[in-house]
Amino acid sequence: MIRGYFSTTGGRNRPYVDGVFQFPGGVTDRSLEVRLLVDTGADRTLISPRDAGQMVRRLGIDLAALPRGAPGAGVGGQADTRTIEAVLTLGNFSVRLTLPILEPPPGPLPPIPSLLGRDIISHFALFMEERTNRVLLLEPHEADPLNIPS
């Protein structure tokens, strides 16, 4: 079971899980610690512009040298993406993925966090209850015995 939590940002309570992205292939230890917003509307897990800024400025990853990905489409429009091979660790769960990165726009960075999308959420049964501050990602062997009606 992976435990997340609700956190208040910008006056709103939102569900998060903590994770670590590792970027294999570098000559140095390149990993990024992130709080991921649990977003069941997101098709893919992705790195937000602010976390991309950390990758560029502090991990020395050249976004321009990375392959272009499919554009990210949101309510506010489209954004260009790059992709990088990564390993995401959440609790005892690790998965290799091709990770889209939203390219930072010019000017001030939006405070939007990176997203945990359905490509990862779909490995689990997701339970969220704001009243009790519970965000749980249950593996199949944990969810099946609950016999939740289909």
Binding site: Y5, R35, D43
Partner: protein
Amino acid sequence: MEDVQAELQRFKRDTAYYEAHYEELLEQYSEQWVAIYNQQVVGASPDFDQLLDDLEARGVPPGKGLIEYLTRKEEIWILST
């Protein structure tokens, strides 16, 4: 290289610190980016790039710790990808 499980556990302690001290952090660093590493505030700035420069100058390991923007302004996020 820090073991990834040890790294994740340390990061969880940093996010727990942020949650436990959210109100006082908001009071002190409103409308700023704040960085927390090893359960301590290690930098704060209204400018994200300036904060990253400060973290490098202070020897905070790259990619480690929590960076959050603290604001009293209510925001509605409608996201999808």
